[in-house]
Symmetry: C2
Subunit: 297 residues, 2 copies
């Protein structure tokens, strides 16, 4: 079965016709910042040429930044796309494309692609973790995305791991994200080195033996180890897939994270920790796959 | 469909014939501490009279203290029942009763009973939390028990919530259980008051306005709030059911926990927190229900 995947980002909309996790055709348009009507037109412009060539497409999946209102088919907050917030995205797109449209969180979509067709394709249950500017994720059981009662499942970066710790983006202190995300490491680096520093440079310094850089990076890895180990104690997945720029930036940090997970799990069985395989295509492949499963019932 | 539930505890074995969550007949024998053969005889002695009167029973579920080896049908550690550890429990019991036998963790069994027939019977997904000497739990999605890759799902009391905090029973520091379980509160009380004190007395003192008692109890409730909120951010269940002696000991502590959950979830949708309803029967009802679902495929 072929489905169409759309990945709605702050700057680009990626589109692809996908069958069994393979991309048959793809398209890409810029994301307008001029209101919902224009966003809708851009989505239609990305989809139409592909649908014209692929009449067999039976459903459309769209991955969006969250949090989402799955019941009403809307994006709850969309700080990076003007006019998208609370607009009738699913309803309007269904009307324009005359196909069922399934909404999914972008992290869930990417994670689902890795679960079904990427790094976790052999694992019955997996947790996808985006280590990026922030920390997010998704849980997958068999061919299901576990969304939770309010679509909050997978908001894992907001777990509190150190009450009283640094301020987190969700208004709490000591969240995993507030300690270990890319933005948190950049904050610590700018404090320690008195200048702004990207995580790439911080990793380079740490790899080169700079003690202050290494302390920052090791602390982040340590808390990522605690975050993953805590999820073992809650859902005990068959494995984790780490995606996002911080995770895919090289072996140096991943090796530190693997060591931290092993330390945090001391006394428990080890757990599989892999790096994402599908790269930038994960978003469209996952959106299409979610639509496929949803269409199949 | 009727099934037989067995609840194998450190001092008693409870047995019941159960249909649709209702107990049709029950039995009870002491748990021998004289080796596996005697435990097996006691289980058979508890089951046989019930099976003789209820030929319609199609399967047997047995709830045991964990951790369990579900694949081999054995109990991995059994500090409270002599000879049980790594004995062929499922295999031997199936041979003796000539019925399929399904093994389940006792916390999962009690939680499953609450999920299907008790406090969470109207909730699609629920997390059961035993607040007792220790802290354990179980996750339920639809009619499924989420066991995890290694049977560790629901080992929620071992989540680390305060790295560097008190020593926990799993060899880590700062676990939820090490801060907030009944045993942890008793430890804090004996330190503060220089004598041993049960949680009931501690709660009485706190309820009466004793500031030192209140600090201990509030701290435990606070971390239970963080633990529950962290699970919202991972699995986002429709609700929680709190069981175990600490939870069912009265409204005083539960009110503190509910306030702590609300504080820890500030900015997120609220979550249902209920107290277990089925009392001591939850173990046999849940064991029977797990066997029923397993037998139904």
């Amino acid at each position: 079965m072929s489905t169409l995947g759309l990945d709605l980002g702050g700057t680009k909309i990626a589109a692809a016709v996908v069958a069994d996790g393979r991309i048959l055709a793809r398209g890409r348009v810029d994301t307008p910042q001029t209101g919902f009507d224009d966003v809708l037109e851009a989505l239609v412009a990305a989809a139409r040429p592909l649908l014209a060539d692929h009449h067999e497409v039976s459903a459309v999946g769209i991955g969006c930044p969250g949090p989402l209102d799955f019941v009403r088919g809307r994006v709850r907050f969309a700080p990076n796309i003007a006019g998208l917030e609370d607009a009738p995205l699913v309803e309007a797109l269904q009307a324009r494309l005359a196909l069922p449209v399934v909404l999914e969180n972008d992290a869930n979509a990417a994670g689902y692609a890795e679960h079904r067709y990427g790094a976790a394709r052999d694992l019955e249950t997996s947790v996808y973790v985006t280590l990026s500017t922030g920390i997010g994720g998704g849980l997958f059981v068999g061919d299901k995305v576990l969304r939770g009662a309010n679509g909050l499942a997978g908001e894992i970066g907001h777990m509190v791991l150190l009450p009283g710790g640094p301020s987190g983006g969700d208004g709490h202190t000591g969240t995993w994200e507030s300690i270990a995300a890319g933005r948190a490491m950049a904050r610590d680096a700018s404090y320690v080195f008195s200048r702004s520093m990207a995580t790439e440079e911080l990793f380079d310094l740490a790899r080169g033996g700079d003690r202050r850089a290494l302390v920052i990076v090791r602390n982040a890895a340590r808390f990522t180890g605690i975050g993953l180990a805590n999820m073992v104690k809650v859902v005990d997945p068959h494995g984790f897939v780490l995606g996002g720029g911080v995770a895919t930036g090289g072996d140096f940090y991943i090796d530190l994270v693997r060591a931290a997970v092993a330390e945090a799990l001391d006394g428990y069985p080890g757990v599989i920790v892999r790096v994402a395989e599908l790269g930038a295509d994960a978003g469209v492949i996952g959106a299409a796959a979610v639509a496929e499963v949803d269409a199949a019932g």
